[in-house]
Symmetry: C2
Subunit: 235 residues, 2 copies
DNA sequence: GACGGTCAAATTGTATACGATTAATTGCAC
DNA sequence: GTGCAATTAATCGTATACAATTTGACCGTC
């Protein structure tokens, strides 16, 4: 759907920096790049065969999305969200997603529901598969559920906001997630769709809030300071 | 409060591009720059005595906030939100602001209330004054009310989102606003504070929604398509 | 005189170059 | 051998330079 949105606006293809940005973002969201990894401008540039100018632009863009943090005169790193940031991310999701759900439910079409069910199926299929590739695809699919709702809501601004929140959630889960299993309770997605379909709006919102709480509950957000040397050895 | 937030993070002062970005943003929000105005990279660079590199970075940053639109190979322009975009902006505000209000109410301190009351006083004072300078200050103060609530909510992510929404709202009002008077019904701000103070949370939310609806109602969002050539001449 | 195409001016897209800041390594003194 | 200081290497911050694209003008032709 992203390519479609890009196609219709034609020259929104813009500059090559966008492609690099998207590539790096995907790598971060799919957790091929770990939080804290240094992203040197030269390295990024060489990797994509462009100058530092474009690499820098891409990194700047990612910093606006909160996926990388650039420190003055030090460089860019894959963001390493603090426990507090993590809480804020999920707090923001609890704030926004019920509203998105209501908007989406008001505009959803049978075709949309069909596509969402297909996405769910794909998600389930990936869940049962083995291997890193499947795991990464699953991570993406699980986020796509929430993004698709945002897309259906028809509000591009809120949609972009959700894209940021979902991406950053992935980082948080990578850092603080405990269970090895999927980031999202898969069945909960299906329940939400069903509730929407049967017009039980309030219940759908409740399910959504529970779903988010469920994800957050799987995190271990204890403040393990970046280098707790003392405790790391003196235990 | 912005300078305070910047001061404590110290080297978040970052690059000179940030300053340029802020300066242009202020100019847009205070409506010294009209929607559609071209922002040539060279001109911006010369104006601030920096190279095109920094000017470009600043414009890119503003485009992420939706305040300027950069068209490939054509340049950057102060954003000219379409009626549909305008509706999305206010729809997003209706979606987010009640939640912000609830969060803020849960954490607000007497000191916060005092500061907000001071802001309200300042707002009222500016409202009675004459002149462009006062008008611009009033615009800013009226937005600051909503931003302060977001700040009190303690969620930096939601806060940033609100900053974007408020800034873009200013653009929309500049374009489609009808009444010459202030962008926001001033008294409504006071009512909201009072409701929060007396712990009437639901009523505060209702007031907020009405307030937003009130702003939107003052707009003339008839589709005057940028170049409705046909209708413009064939009538 | 109107239409079409070619050319020139201006502006953006990208790359490279240079200065500044930070981090690391080496060397020296203790 | 340890700790500090100065130097070196690497990386970022910014400016400049060149290539590509667009825009408006000029000119010839119909």
């Amino acid at each position: 759907m992203k390519s479609a949105a890009r196609a219709l606006s034609e020259d929104t293809a813009e500059t090559g920096a966008q492609q690099i940005r998207d590539a790096i973002r995907d790598a971060i969201v799919e957790r091929r790049l770990s939080p804290g990894t240094k992203l040197s401008e030269s390295d990024v540039g060489n990797l994509f065969s462009v100058s530092r100018t474009l690499a820098r632009a891409a990194l700047q863009a990612l910093s606006y999305e909160g996926l990388v943090s650039v420190e003055k005169n030090r460089g860019a790193f894959v963001a390493y969200p603090s426990p507090d940031e993590a809480r804020q991310i999920f707090s923001a999701r609890r704030l926004v997603e019920p509203g998105i759900l209501r908007e989406a439910a008001a505009r959803i079409t049978p075709a949309d529901i069909k596509r969402m069910r297909e996405l769910l199926l794909e998600e389930g299929r990936l869940m049962s598969e083995r291997g890193q590739t499947a795991r990464r695809a699953e991570i993406k699919a699980s986020g796509d559920f929430h993004l698709m709702l945002a897309a259906i809501s028809g509000n591009a601004i809120v949609q972009r906001f959700m894209e940021e929140l979902v991406a950053r959630s992935s980082l948080v889960i990578a850092l603080y997630g405990q269970s090895t299993v999927s980031s999202c309770g898969h069945s909960e997605h299906g329940d939400i769709i069903s509730a929407i379909e049967s017009n039980e709006l309030d219940r759908a919102c409740q399910l959504m809030l529970h779903h988010i709480a469920h994800i957050e509950a799987d995190l271990d957000l204890r403040e393990r300071k970046s280098l707790g040397l003392r405790e790391a050895f003196e235990l």
